[in-house]
């Protein structure tokens, strides 16, 4: 019952805020990593280097698929913005379904930019099906394909350290976020501006993916406050119950 209520509330708020944001665009706090990402995209197009986008290995049949879908939403926008580049972005993933979706998303981005003939299916790659084979397959892309910025967004584990290290060796920008706590701590130590927790899901809104992404952030904020309120009420009730038992 609670889950249904939360879902319906989130859906109603989402639709409401999407409608509202069409009339008045939102202004969000500055997140340095996304500002750097927007700068890097422009620079990559100008200096003829490449973006490498790693979507991790989030299986779409599990709860981990959420981060992969968020990465795909960002990819759609980045593909559109970099479609005129001499070196198109390369997307690597560690899950076959995700790799196919990344190809579809790239193609959609090129089509939206009116440059569908530039699309090559080989730019959306499956590099391995286990965590380490995925990392081992993605590392040569970072080293050998004139990559100036690595964007790692998705479900990864400890193997993310190998990708971060490869990026560092090439002096490339690293923008990284994950839904996995181990990967988050690794990215905290490895990247200049770490993205923590739900900041991963803000990628779409910060790269200009549309009002629905901005509305999502508003709804996330409201739900977060409701949860905080619920936790505080729970604490107060527990204290009252304990005091009542003592008295």
């Amino acid at each position: 019952m609670l889950a249904q209520g939360l879902l319906i509330l989130a859906a109603v708020l989402f639709l409401g805020f999407t409608f509202l944001r069409r009339r008045s665009p939102a202004s969000f706090r500055s997140i340095e990593a996304y500002e750097r990402l927007n700068r890097s995209v422009g620079l990559a197009v100008e200096d003829g280097t490449r973006l490498h986008i790693s979507l991790g290995r989030g299986n779409l049949f599990t709860a981990r698929g959420g981060s992969a879908l968020a990465g795909l939403a960002m990819l759609r926008r980045l593909a559109e913005r970099t479609s005129v580049s001499d070196r198109p972005p390369v997307v690597t993933s560690g899950d076959a379904s995700l790799a196919i979706l990344s190809q579809d998303t790239l193609q959609s981005g090129y089509r939206a930019a009116g440059a569908e003939e530039q699309y090559r299916f080989s730019t959306g790659r499956l590099t391995g099906l286990t965590p380490f084979s995925y990392a081992a397959g993605a590392i040569p892309t970072i080293h050998d394909e004139h990559v100036s910025t690595n964007i790692i967004l998705g479900d990864l584990g400890a193997e993310s350290a190998l990708l971060a290290e490869a990026s560092d060796r090439e002096n490339a920008n690293l923008i990284a976020a994950s839904d996995n706590l181990s990967a988050q701590s690794i990215f905290y130590a490895s990247s200049q501006e770490p993205l923590i927790g739900e900041e991963l899901f803000a990628a779409g809104a910060y790269v200009g993916a549309g009002t629905a992404h901005e509305a999502s952030l508003n709804v996330q904020d409201i739900l977060r406050w409701l949860i905080i309120l619920g936790i505080i009420v729970g604490i107060v009730l527990k204290i009252v119950e304990t005091l009542g038992a003592l008295i």
Partner: protein
């Protein structure tokens, strides 16, 4: 027209699967059928993905890109192992040897590299960002390592109490992060269900 149809089909399937969780008596069988179909498609997707991997590696080799020879080696190994697996079966001694003597040691060696990489990243953290949070991050990581590592004198007195005390903060932080991630996942799912995000080529 086709794009609208695929989007409508995907959204309808998503809504039925979601409703199947809330109304299992009415929609459980339909939900299971849809999930079974999706699993079959995902199985085929693995073959498509492996084909994609082989094409990319052969492309590297044929255009004489850096590491192209490794790509060729990978494709030859891939098809040789696949053929041997189909002919001999996955339980065959030689097939198990290929896993135990090649794949497991290679992954273990990557794990060893990972340990070195993580230590190196920790050392460089203070060069990259010197602030209170970074120092706290490193100090807490060192304390945890110190408390859980085996020592020649046996357990350190009070280590369990210290771990429980510090664990209280780290568990709280982790739960906070996970709640945020759950909310993000919920909203991402809603965007897909409402057809705003269409990663299946419908955009």
């Amino acid at each position: 027209m086709l794009r609208v149809f695929t989007a409508a089909l995907a959204i309808a399937a998503g809504i039925f699967v979601l409703l199947g969780y809330f109304y299992p008596e009415q929609l459980e069988s339909l939900r299971l059928i849809l999930v079974d179909w999706a699993i079959i498609i995902a199985g085929i997707a693995i073959l498509v993905g492996i084909f994609n991997l082989a094409v990319v590696q052969m492309g590297k080799f044929s255009t004489r890109q850096k590491g192209g020879m490794y790509g060729l080696l990978l494709v030859i190994s891939l098809f040789a192992t696949f053929a041997a697996g189909v002919i001999l079966g996955p339980e065959n001694l030689y097939m198990r040897l290929a896993v135990d003597a090649v794949i497991v040691p290679v992954e273990a060696s990557l794990m060893a590299i990972l340990a070195v990489t993580l230590i190196y990243a920790s050392i460089r953290l203070l060069r990259r960002r010197v602030d209170v949070v970074s120092v706290l991050f490193l100090v807490v990581a060192l304390i945890f390592l110190f408390l859980v590592m085996p020592t020649p004198i046996g357990p350190i007195p009070g280590d369990r109490a210290m771990l429980d005390f510090l664990g209280m903060f780290s568990r709280g932080g982790a739960r906070g992060l996970l709640i945020g991630i759950a909310l993000g996942t919920l909203l991402t799912g809603l965007r897909v269900l409402f057809g705003v995000d269409r990663p299946y080529g419908g955009n």
